[in-house]
């Protein structure tokens, strides 16, 4: 347990299957994996390989059928739904492919949203959100709603939202999947910066080789099994 607690993520023989009608479809077939704190890992694989499922399990938004799953020192299987929600709020920063911002809120309010779950005052929430937006280079777009921002800018707002509550782990599901080449480059550079300068552990699912190249390590998933892993020395 001490060893598990020292790692950002430890998966031990994790299995997950889905039910489609009367058929049980195995997605993850006994995955074991350690991710060190401060690592930047890319999960790759063909569609249906289970990479998003694995990311969801690590992020605590889905539950494994069996196996051990430690994230940031907590065994997720031991938490009930309410505890898991609180844990996510404290521990995980989410970046989604389609940004998942609240369209009625401006960039500042979107970034400050996770802080509603903290005891911070309105002024503190505002200051933190503005700081996070400045970090991602959107100091001049704070009052803009998502509809008034480009895809790349929206994803940067989402990154600011992911880091505003200072999470241990950032999970990113195809963060560049909906962006053009230049915007994707900016987002990847930002993620590398968060990893390098702020020491954030990042687990990213991607189809894009170029995006994967930004990570320290690349793990391939094939039919629910870790089939190949490649390691880079870092950017």
């Amino acid at each position: 347990m001490t060893e598990a607690a020292a790692l950002a993520v430890r998966l031990g023989d994790v299995r997950k299957s889905y039910r489609r009608g009367h058929q049980v479809v195995p997605v993850l077939a006994g995955i074991s994996l350690d991710i060190a704190a401060g690592d930047f890992l890319a999960l790759m694989g063909p569609s249906g390989s289970g990479k998003s499922t694995l990311l969801n399990l690590i992020a605590g938004i889905d539950r494994a059928d069996s196996g051990e799953l430690w994230v940031a020192g907590t065994e997720l299987g031991s938490l009930n739904d309410a505890e898991l929600a609180d844990w996510r709020a404290r521990t995980i920063g989410f970046i989604f492919q389609f940004y998942n911002l609240m369209p009625v809120l401006d960039a500042r309010e979107n970034v400050a949203l996770p802080l509603l779950l903290t005891g911070l005052s309105g002024r503190e929430r505002r200051e933190r959100a503005e700081f996070a937006l400045t970090m991602v280079g959107l100091a001049d777009r704070m009052d803009h709603t998502p509809g008034e921002l480009s895809g790349g800018q929206q994803q940067r707002v989402a990154i600011a939202r992911a880091l505003v509550s200072d999470p241990v782990l950032i999970v990113a599901d195809e963060p560049t999947g909906d962006l053009d080449r230049d915007s994707a480059g900016e987002v990847l550079a930002l993620l590398q910066r968060l990893n390098r300068e702020m020491g954030k552990t990042i687990v990213m699912v991607t189809h894009d080789q170029r995006a994967a190249a930004a990570a320290h390590a690349i793990i391939h998933l094939e039919k629910g099994v870790l089939s190949l892993s490649g390691e880079r020395s870092g950017p």
Binding site: R88, Q97, N100, L113
Partner: protein, 387 residues
């Protein structure tokens, strides 16, 4: 945090403007219709509501259409517990045209106005009325409807008592309370009686009802029994009941209409509930991914439920509030249009509270299923709704 949540609720409610405006408009119409129909029902019961607990009405036990001998008055007055007595006869005349309906009573002027302090009449006008055999007193609403002024002459065509009957308006009474009927006309029973005796000998010395004031409200049952006992086995037996029961007897004759109005008013609410529930179901279906995102970020299902409930209540209470405010001028316009058909047509406090309760109930019930759906929504399934 509360301010941020309220802001998010309001922004969400205003997100699909056309849909929100149409839903609010539907609520306005439904709550307005509910209020008006409720006021119509209240108007039906206005006479019973305005009744005094200390007044009894004695009538023929066979039917109200059969008169009682006026000579009963001394025997009734002698019953223990009777403090005051008066009498009245329904006249049923037509003013110009049958559609100009208003109640007309031949009364013993002096005792009748003492028994009904809620009919507020200027002392000089009362004295003028008492002095003039052909004098009459009309209610303020009646005077305003037909433009009657003190000194005017009006002619009624008798239906129960044939012929043309001329009266001089000697007074206009107001109501001591909001619910007082101000659409009635009173004239001298002696004028009616003397004229009948001349025109139709043998039909005189009769009254429609006796109105009795009891010394204490606790004694109404005892005094009622005593009065009816006094005339048991006589040629004209009596039935004495409280003024409220007497008035409710009239309502009972048309109870089916009242029930129908009540059913329609709640049907209107049920229809708007269906509209509102559909609006909220569409809204939540469209925002599945947003709610899943909130849950992923760590917000509990209860928080998301509050957002949905808040939005539903914003629409329902917004429309409800406008509907309630509009009920007053619309009810007034309706009352003016109806003339003296509804003598008392006031939007009661109870009606407003019911309107508010209905608006709340619609908001809450419309949100229940969407809240349940989102609470049960698996985050991963909800997030997939984006892709």
């Amino acid at each position: 945090m509360l301010a941020s949540v309220l802001r998010l609720i309001l922004l969400n409610a205003w997100r699909h403007r056309l849909r929100s405006v149409l839903t609010v408009l539907g609520m306005v119409v439904a709550i307005l219709a509910f209020g008006l129909l409720g006021t119509v029902v209240d108007a039906w019961y206005a006479g019973a509501d305005a009744a005094s607990a200390k007044r009894l009405v004695t009538r023929s036990s066979i039917s109200l259409v059969f008169p009682l001998p006026q000579t009963y008055k001394e025997r009734i007055r002698a019953v223990d517990g009777v403090r005051a007595l008066s009498w009245a006869s329904w006249f049923g005349g037509i003013y110009k045209e049958p559609k100009n309906f208003f109640p007309q009573f031949a009364v013993d002027g002096e005792s009748y106005f003492r028994l009904y302090p809620e009919f507020v009449l200027d002392e000089a006008q009362l004295q003028g009325f008492l002095r003039d055999r052909r004098g009459c007193v009309v209610g303020r609403k009646l005077a305003e409807t037909y433009g009657f002024r003190v000194g005017d002459t009006l002619t009624l065509k008798g239906t129960i008592y044939p012929g043309n009957w001329d009266f001089v308006v000697r007074g206009i009474y107001d109501g001591a309370r909001k619910g007082t009927d101000r659409s009635q006309m009173f004239f001298h029973w002696t004028y009616l009686d003397e004229t009948i005796k001349k025109r139709m000998p043998g039909r005189g010395n009769n009254v429609g009802v006796f109105v009795v004031e009891v010394s204490s409200a606790d004694r109404v049952a005892e005094v009622s029994r005593a009065i009816d006992g006094e005339f048991a086995n006589s040629r004209a037996e009596t039935l004495t009941e409280t003024e409220k029961a007497f008035q409710l007897g009239f309502v009972a004759m048309t109870e089916a209409i009242v029930v129908a109005i009540r059913i329609v008013s709640y049907l209107v609410i049920f229809i708007i509930l269906a509209v509102m529930a559909n609006t909220m179901a569409m809204t939540v279906r469209e925002r599945t991914a947003e709610y899943a995102t909130l849950k992923a970020l760590g917000f509990r299902p209860s928080f998301v439920g509050v957002l949905i409930l808040g939005e539903s209540l914003t629409l329902s209470l917004g429309g409800g509030a406008i509907g309630i405010v509009l009920t007053f001028p619309v009810a007034h316009a309706f009352s003016v249009q109806m003339g003296t058909l509804f003598p008392v047509f006031n939007v009661s406090e109870q009606t407003v509270l019911l309107q508010l309760a209905c608006a709340c109930a619609v908001g809450v019930v419309a949100a229940l299923l969407p809240m349940r759906r989102v609470a049960r929504l698996a985050i991963v399934d909800g997030l997939r709704a984006v892709a």
